[in-house]
Symmetry: C2
Subunit: 320 residues, 2 copies
DNA sequence: GTGAAAGCGCTAACAC
DNA sequence: GTGTTAGCGCTTTCAC
């Protein structure tokens, strides 16, 4: 078996409680004693057993994050942010991919709740009631969703969408179509709202490449001059399908995305999209979670988004 | 506090050990008793305290995975596979991104070791000795790396590289350059070996988009007709830089990648690359880990890779 | 400032 | 087939 607190106590010639205090409440032991204990700890390579500690404190020192689709680069970016901030506090993080399934999502959170101090829930697809229920189960921070009484960090989709519309209108477009994501996605409704009724709604489509391909098929018949996709993955699908059809972008149609994943800059034409600070959102979510765990009230944070103009948008029916 | 095993025992009119057995060793209790216990468990919504269980059994029911770069879509795919298989066994999984830093990688594994039953280590950058040391610390499964005595699952880079070379040669190329990844990456050496000396080595470069851009700058001066990139992300960077330079692919240069991430199919020209069964590798890694945890010997599994020919390769200096 | 002792919730001998 | 009991390794009163 590994080295325990007793081994340390014996070798440092103190009691186990002193060892415990030296590690978790340094102020309560004489500096000299503390130093002696710490030396022994280092010498023995002692690591407190987290299960034992957890059994007594009721805290696990772990966090969980649930995302709808790990293959969408947006979410790994959030994961990174979460891990970065959590790691600074010595906290480990569990991840789960719900594969866009609301039932799985709720179940995953419930399972996690038993073994973490809190969970970050991204782009949730469950009902407000379920979110509230989950939040009652464990400290919960939502990313890109608002439910009253539950902490959340938002990347401002509505404002971003406003910029998209303004950009397209300044280019001379006045008939665009919104290629919608999952109807259950809060972000989808938020973006739709940001449109302010100035776009026709098509879909919903799956929020991935395939969904974009499907959307493009429908969109070309819609007679609009610009397509606003729910997210970049869809926009990439749209671009791909249009290219396959021999339809030029942005000459024939302008296309925009949302998220600013790396590939938005790499595709051809490079995608005009709304940049989302995904990694930062992950970090902020951990902060909110920490506050919640410490007993604070639910908080809400909004992160700014910015339009990134690239080459997939231009004035209608002309080359700029 | 939450409901404990005692609450269940009391209400089911049995001892705590019977409850424990009903849940973890169903064969040891009478069916009727078991059913009664299960009913109470369901009624009370009892969930065994994992810390307490772990304290006694020495098992956590958790797994960890460490990857070098979450923003490379290849790794989230592996994560997915790991979670899928682990989830089937009720196992949760911790993740960590080492950001291509060998020291961080080792430290992350050490930290995880204390709170998991085993860890999956992807594309490790540490020395063989460190891997062995880590493997002594906790059940360990390597993905895309071989270290004697340590379990591993390999996606056959060498064979894949062989196919790339054969493909390029069949097209008429006979002077190609390999745009190398991290020198410390086992896969890099493996791929280099798969080349069989038929390519000049350039690099190493960072195994990401930026590294590809840097590599492209150097490659155009090398006078070869085809560029073989260490991975897709680099290849995408190469494509991007060549496009910026107004150099046509594949007319002027053929370019190949490795991994077959989603974006390899989406970029323009679509990338000829080697498909890697990343998700499957994650699943298999969990299987090997389970075997290891059960006390089995280190095992080795090899997964086949396949060349995917798209539009970034063609006969030298001509349009096919 | 430090030690002794009582558990946290559970499993695993060990009895019966 | 079931109950009793002794801890797993740690934190935390409570004494001193």
């Amino acid at each position: 078996m590994a080295v325990t607190i007793r081994d340390v106590a014996r070798q440092a010639q103190v009691s186990v409680s002193t060892v415990s205090r030296a590690l978790s409440a340094p102020g309560l032991v004489k500096e000299a004693t503390r130093q002696r204990v710490l030396d022994v700890v280092a010498g023995l390579g002692y690591q407190p057993n987290r299960a034992a500690r957890s059994l007594i404190t009721g805290r696990t020192g772990n966090l969980g994050i649930v995302v709808p689709d790990l293959t969408n680069p947006f979410f790994p970016a959030v994961l990174r942010g979460v891990q970065t901030r959590a790691g600074e506090a010595g906290t480990s993080v569990f991840f789960c991919d719900s594969r866009e399934d609301p039932a799985a999502e709720a179940e995953l959170v419930r399972t996690m709740a038993a073994q973490v101090d809190g969970v970050v829930l991204c782009a949730s697809l469950v009902s407000d009631e379920t979110v509230a229920e989950l939040a009652a189960l464990t400290p919960l921070v939502l990313i890109n969703r608002i439910v009253p009484g539950v902490s959340s960090v938002l990347m401002d989709s509505a404002a971003g969408m406003g910029q998209v519309v303004a950009h397209l209108e300044s280019l001379g477009h006045n008939d665009f179509v919104y290629l919608g994501g999952p109807a259950a996605a809060w972000s989808n409704n938020r973006r739709l709202r940001g449109l302010g009724g100035r776009a026709r709604l098509l879909g919903s489509f799956e929020p991935n490449f395939g969904g974009g391909v499907a959307a493009a098929e429908r969109a070309v018949e819609a007679g609009a001059t610009a397509f606003i996709a729910y997210n970049d993955l869809m926009a990439l699908g749209v671009l791909s399908h249009l290219a396959a059809l021999g339809i030029e972008v942005p000459r024939r149609f302008s296309v925009t995305g949302f998220d600013d994943i790396l590939y938005a800059a790499m595709c051809s034409p490079a995608l005009t999209t709304v940049h989302m600070p995904a990694e930062e959102a992950g970090e902020v979510a951990v902060d909110l979670l920490a506050a919640l765990i410490a007993g604070g009230p639910a908080e809400h944070r909004e992160l700014p988004t910015t339009l990134v103009v690239r080459s997939s948008t231009a004035a209608p029916h002309s080359r700029t």
